[in-house]
Amino acid sequence: MNPVGLFSAFRVQQKRTENAYTCSLVLNDSLPDALPGQFVMAWLPGIDERPFSLSDNDPVRITVADVGSFSHALNQLQPGDYLWLRGPLGRGFISRGRSHLLLGGGYGAAPLSFLAKSLCAQGNQVGVCLGARSRADLLLVEEFSSLGCQVWLATEDGSAGKQGLLTALLPEAQNALKPETVYACGPIGMLTTMAAWARTAGLPAQLSFEGVMRCGVGLCGSCELPETTCQQLGLAPGFLVCHDGPVGEISPNHFS
């Protein structure tokens, strides 16, 4: 069956504070054949197990926003501590074309940093739009810049970049970059807005979805996208985030 189905023990090699409630945990090894957009199930024995995107894989890194008890426990880990992962799981982003626009809301920036790194390494042109409530909430901005990406910012309070929603950056970024594909990760509202825009712009979109993960391998059904979301985005009904996604590809034609 799935060779990635058993946990492997990793150790935290380095911990980097990204903002007041988010840290990146750099682990002591890589995962074989992991692709940007794929995720892992992270386990702390006796505590819980939750899905996190790979924000890098050389070595493994996850970027964790403290939003509840498990992500809080991860934020307490220190270098040397153990962390158990199974994965890489799911389908990641597929690079299409030479010019790419990435859109990250909140910790949605995490998988995009791994994607940007891989796209830039192949000599692609990469632009990134990042959004958050305010300047202090923005994630990985310097990392994207230092990879050589063009970066646009939006904050709800205007403390950095454009004031307003992240999706408001799209026209400007499109003009500057002429992307062939757009990639997005963030809250579902942002994803649907992005998808609607991509359809108008005639661009294929790759959206990274979230769902409540239990098995993580397509057995239990708990991560199914709501049927209305599938309809709205032109995805086949019964989309399983862990098996069919997390990244779903939407062609401008199939959008309804």
Binding site: M41, P45, W84
Partner: protein
């Protein structure tokens, strides 16, 4: 030789092939059940549903490796009342495809089985599968009813009285003589037998020095279970004459043929969904047809029970 016929009849229903989605795989969502029917599942079993809503166990609830899967989902379900509209919707979508719906039920106490069956019968499934063998709730519910001929028979009697639909009783492998239990439930009016549920098991992570599943123990399924399931079905087929839904560790058309040869009428497909996703049914159907063609079997009836003699 002509293309072999995969269609078969089961308790008066006509199925396009012998493959049934096993209970609990991908839950009870109408869209997922429909997706698997479209891929080639000839019948669909819904996730077991009990009297009350249950969230199930905390994570981790599943691990998979090359020899199998260990799960302790913990019978996540919305409770019988809330399940009825879900099943109605599923039944309607499946009916349009000519695919019957088998509704699985469980209950913590003997008395509750009748009540759950009656409620679920309102959704008019084509069969009620009575799960008396979930290994993952023993700490809450006590030893499963599948443990003895007496308790298995008692549940069968209760459900038999409660509903007029065909019923299949789902048995557990961790008993000394499964054929005695099969005989007992058939005597109480079971129309079919589903065999087998998962085998109680545990994995420990050595580095963590802890069981991997939050529930500590779980049910073993997938390839490791196949030889156990084949033996159970083989023994049941010799003891009773009702049809058997042979389930456990099947991952290919050849596996399905082996299960039919052991005496199964239909074959349940579960954990292998991990590898292929919901489209696994079309692959297994093709492989089964190829096997039959290569080995000169014109129809399923020629394969069924072949290893018994």
């Amino acid at each position: 030789m002509l293309t072999p016929e995969l269609n078969c009849s089961f308790l008066g229903m006509n199925l396009t092939n012998p493959l049934v989605l096993a209970s609990g795989i991908l839950g009870t969502s109408p869209s997922l059940m429909e997706r698997m029917a479209l891929s080639g599942a000839a019948a669909i079993t819904s996730k077991s549903c009990g009297p009350e809503a249950r969230a199930g166990h905390p994570n981790p609830v599943t691990v998979a490796w090359d020899c199998g899967v260990l799960n302790a989902i913990g019978l996540t379900n919305p409770g019988a009342r809330a399940e009825v509209p879900l099943l109605r919707e599923t039944k309607q979508r499946l009916a349009a495809l000519g695919v019957p719906l088998f509704a699985s039920i469980f209950a913590p106490r003997l008395e509750d089985y009748g009540e759950v069956a009656r409620i679920i019968a309102e959704a008019e499934p084509d069969l009620i599968e009575v799960n008396i063998s979930c290994p993952n709730v023993a700490s809450e519910f006590g030893t499963p009813f599948s443990a003895s001929a007496e308790s298995a028979a008692a549940v069968t009697r209760t459900v038999r009285k409660a509903v007029n639909l065909p019923i299949s009783i789902k048995l557990a492998p961790n008993v000394p003589e499964i054929s005695l239990i099969a005989q007992a439930v058939v005597e109480e009016g079971a129309d079919a037998i589903t065999a087998i549920n998962t085998m109680p098991a545990m994995l420990i992570d050595a580095t963590a020095a802890k069981p991997v599943l939050s529930n500590r123990t779980g049910g073993l399924s997938g390839p490791a279970l196949k030889p156990i399931a084949l033996r159970c079905v083989y023994e049941i087929a010799q003891a009773v004459s009702v049809p058997i839904i042979g389930t456990g560790g099947l991952s290919s058309g050849i596996d399905a043929a082996e299960m039919l040869m052991a005496g199964a009428t239909l074959v349940g497909i579960g954990s292998v969904v991990i590898n292929d996703g919901p489209s696994v049914f079309s692959r297994i159907c093709t492989e089964l047809a190829t096997f039959m063609k290569d080995n000169g079997y014109a129809q399923l009836g020629d394969v069924r029970g072949k290893a018994l003699t």
